[in-house]
């Protein structure tokens, strides 16, 4: 089980290739642990994931809350209907956003705006 990683505008996109079960779940958890510190935002692309274990769902739920605490984005993309069902029955779907594709997820995260720019924008640009 491989987890591909690439970056788009400071956002890390992880694309697991295979099942997030047993060793796959452990691999994902390790990566999320590191990214929680390093990445500004994360997108998990589930296009090539068929099965997901309870343990992997637990890791996603846990690191989703960690990302939230640090006010970092955490989005899911292209989950199949069976995985969506599992996320629904465990309540995960209520707290995580799932998008059809990476672009939509990227747009939802939006541009990274610094404190200075924010002050500038909200002050009316003067």
């Amino acid at each position: 089980m491989e987890i591909e990683r690439h970056e788009k505008c400071d956002v890390v996109v992880l694309s697991p290739k295979g099942n997030l079960v047993y060793d796959g779940a452990i691999k994902l958890e390790c990566m999320l642990k590191v990214l929680c510190e390093d990445a500004c935002a994360i997108i998990l692309n589930f296009r090539d994931v068929k099965y997901i274990s309870a343990n992997a769902l637990g890791s996603i739920a846990y690191y989703l809350s960690c990302f939230r605490e640090k006010q970092k984005g955490f989005k899911l993309v292209q989950t199949n209907k069976n995985i969506k069902k599992l996320m629904d029955i465990t309540g995960l779907l209520r707290i995580v956003e799932v998008f059809e594709n990476e672009d939509e997820a990227m747009s939802s995260i939006g541009p990274r705006v610094g404190k200075l720019e924010k002050t500038f924008l909200w002050s009316g640009g003067n």
Binding site: V21, G24, K50, Y51, G58, A61, N82, T90
Partner: protein
């Protein structure tokens, strides 16, 4: 108000699973693993229902119930027991146990039994059930009849009047045979759960017996030895040998009129014998043989009036055949109902015929060819994706619905991971055994570590928390299994290891 249930069993996991299920269903449940403590609890607090294991160290389940009933006669009781404990079950019935359930049981079945027992106690006005109360109940109007047994292969329509017999049906499928049993006995026997006892003995005997005559003879001897009351019992046992499509049958009881109705609209009257069971042990039962073409249906009419009418030529068999021919396109339920309506309309039998039961069953519908498969997964596992692929390969040939297949594989996967994490140390050698089988319209999977890798020294009690919080890690696997499957049961013991039982109703390929 919530019904209060006390659960007594020394098997921790079973107690936990049952307690959580019942809590979910809105019962107020307390539990203990010690029968002596249970008695103390029952003396301090009045429980509506006590569910107890039969075999326990200090005081067995029957003794416990007897003691609790002395303190509080209104408490109802259910005994849980394994096969082969039928003698104790009959003893339990005499001590006022309302029902019993054999292990391993389906949680849905247990819930049904609990609902039945508690609703019976409500129906009697108080919790105190007595023979007198039961008899003083207003009899139901004769026109009302209820469906006592419904599944795809059998349907029984019977009167609920006081004088009507109690009819029951059971079927067992083995590798080489299909066995069915129809029985009937007088309600005056006063034994509330006799049908369940008979079914238990039948299922026990069906494991080894391939002759309906011997099966009935063995059951008769057993019942004579263990039931105190003597009252007539009628049984129709039929065994279909799958390989040769040969049918063996025995019918004990003159009141049973049995027919086999073929797809070619031919009706064969199956001979019954004037032998009543539960009267004398060691009787000899005759047996008949017939070829059995596919698609045949059995009709059993439990009525002395009809049987006598046919014997004396007052009723022409053609009248019954006409109904069967007319309604042949319908399912078993339709045929049984129409047959009942037809008989109810025969004026010459009006008075007696209303105390009759009609059963229509087939030995084929809903029961396809048996499917059993065993897979062994060797530990340590190098590539878990191969394991998932193996599950896919096995199930894609059996289960039609892709979503249900995914649900099953996800659940089986959780059970395997559970065995991996609880039973074996990391990297340790061992095996996890999976048994897949078909039971009627359900797929049954048992995932077991067989105790071979059970780490007794470092063993911790399995997780007993239901998954509640989204970020909470423990219990999520069990929660998922329970959501995706129709029934889940986990059994764990230091000697035997852990087994997870899973069941789900599916559409099998080829149905």
């Amino acid at each position: 108000m919530k019904k209060k249930i006390l659960l007594v069993d020394d098997e921790e996991t079973l107690r936990w699973a049952l307690q959580n299920t019942l809590l979910d269903d809105g019962y107020d449940v307390e539990d203990t693993n010690d029968s002596v403590e249970a008695l103390e609890m029952a003396k301090k607090r009045r429980y509506d229902l006590v569910i107890s294991d039969l075999t326990m160290p200090a005081m067995n389940g029957v003794q416990l119930i007897a003691e609790i009933k002395k303190a509080n006669p209104s408490t109802r009781a259910i005994i849980m027991t394994g096969y082969g404990s039928t003698e104790a079950v009959i003893e339990a019935m005499h001590t006022g146990v309302s029902d019993f359930i054999t292990k391993p049981f389906k949680l849905e079945h247990m819930k049904k039994v609990i609902r039945k027992v508690l609703s019976e106690s409500e129906n009697t006005g108080t919790n105190a059930y007595s023979e007198k109360n039961h008899r003083n109940e207003e009899p139901l109007p004769c026109e009302v009849y209820t469906d006592k047994h419904k599944d795809s292969s059998c349907y029984i329509v019977q009167d609920e009047t006081e004088n009507a017999n109690r009819a029951f049906y059971d079927a067992v499928e083995t590798d080489d045979c299909l066995l069915a049993l129809f029985g009937s006995f007088s309600r005056e026997a006063g034994l509330e759960n006799l049908d369940t006892v008979i079914k238990t003995v039948f299922r026990y005997e069906a494991k080894t017996c391939r002759s309906p005559a011997s099966l009935i003879e063995n059951m008769n001897t057993f019942l004579c030895e263990h039931i105190k009351n003597r009252f007539p019992l009628m049984l129709f046992c039929v065994i279909l040998e799958k390989q040769g499509q040969k049918l063996f049958y025995s019918i004990c009881g003159e009141g049973l009129t049995c027919f086999m109705f073929s797809q070619e609209k031919e009706m064969i009257h199956l001979q019954s014998y004037p032998l009543f069971l539960n009267m004398f042990p060691d009787i000899s039962v005759p047996e008949q043989t017939l070829p059995m073409p596919a698609g045949n249906r059995f009709i059993v009419i439990d009525s002395n009036a009809v049987a006598t009418g046919i014997r004396k030529g007052i009723i022409q068999k053609e009248r019954l055949r006409d109904i069967l021919v007319r309604e042949a396109a319908g399912d078993c339920g339709h045929v049984a109902k129409k047959m009942k309506e037809g008989i109810d309309g025969w004026h010459e039998l009006a008075a007696d015929a209303r105390n009759c039961s009609i059963a229509a069953f087939t030995l084929e519908n809903g029961r396809g060819r048996p499917w059993k498969e065993e897979i062994s997964i060797s530990l340590p596992i190098d590539d878990y994706d191969e394991v998932l692929q193996l599950f896919e390969e096995k199930l894609s040939k059996i289960v039609g619905d892709e979503c249900k297949r995914h649900d099953i594989i996800t659940s089986v996967n959780e059970a395997v991971l559970n065995a991996l994490f609880f039973a074996y140390k990391e990297g340790e050698k061992g095996e996890i055994v999976l048994k897949f089988s078909r039971l009627g319209e359900e797929i049954i999977i048992v995932v077991s570590d067989r105790g071979c890798g059970f780490d007794t020294q470092n063993y911790e009690e399995p997780d007993t928390t239901f998954y509640k919080g989204i970020t909470k890690k423990d219990g999520r696997g069990i929660f998922i299994m329970k959501q995706l499957m129709d029934r889940v049961m986990i059994q764990s013991g230091r000697g035997t290891g852990t087994s997870v039982f899973l069941a789900k109703r599916v559409n099998f390929y080829g149905n």
